[in-house]
Symmetry: C2
Subunit: 108 residues, 2 copies
DNA sequence: TCTTACATATGTATTTGACTCATAGTCGTT
DNA sequence: AACGACTATGAGTCAAATACATATGTAAGA
């Protein structure tokens, strides 16, 4: 369930801009506790999203510590998140009708 | 979303034994309207499930028309379906918490 | 009789995606 | 100097989904 990483990143970034490492740390909080994404892959993912214009990034010179690249969501990114939410709602619908049907026949 | 085919088949078969063709027709009803599975792949899937002991099948000599192989769920199949349901419930939980968080920030 | 629909298959090929492992740089702290 | 935080790139494996093609046989209807 790493396909779920993309919408999760978008959701986190909508709440406020963050740098990559922080995103990694907070990902399980949104995408499920067992979700661990390979660090390298995540930066790749972020790069990809930036190429698509979904996020934009800049080095944060002000922050202490090692160089951090801070990502923020673009308008296009917000729109993409909306589309994600819509399709996830559909998926949820399918899921819950399945489970309902499952529970109806349980115990026979 | 064809990964969803397996639990759907199991659910349908728990309700009553069916032959393959009928399963194909009724699949969208459970797995979502747009779900179309390649016919050949579905028979392969059924074969696989039978090898795993999840379903059992027999030719139905009595039924009119072309030869039909009727599948029914085994006890092991029922157990597998239960496990599916459990993990789908978890997935549903992740989904709905995601959507809830999404809706909380909507319109900013 | 010819076509169409029903029904069950097998073979193969492509593509995508998940996942892993390895490496390497900078910066700040200890 | 060593370590942890932070950002990256490279390369590769492996299974799964998907698609496409072909085959066989029965029965119903034009």
């Amino acid at each position: 369930m790493e396909r779920f990483a993309e919408p999760s990143l978008l959701l986190l970034l909508r709440e406020r801009p963050m740098h990559g490492y922080e995103l990694i740390e907070r990902l399980p909080e949104v995408a499920g506790a067992e979700t661990r994404v390979d660090v390298g892959n995540l930066y790749r993912l972020l790069r990809g999203l930036e190429e698509e214009g979904v996020v934009s990034s800049a080095w944060s010179a002000d922050l202490p510590g090692p160089a951090k690249r801070t990502y923020e969501l673009t308008d296009e990114g917000r729109a993409l998140l909306d589309r994600w939410a819509e399709s996830l709602r559909e998926a949820q619908g399918v899921l819950s009708s399945f489970l309902e049907r499952y529970e109806q026949g349980e115990g026979r």
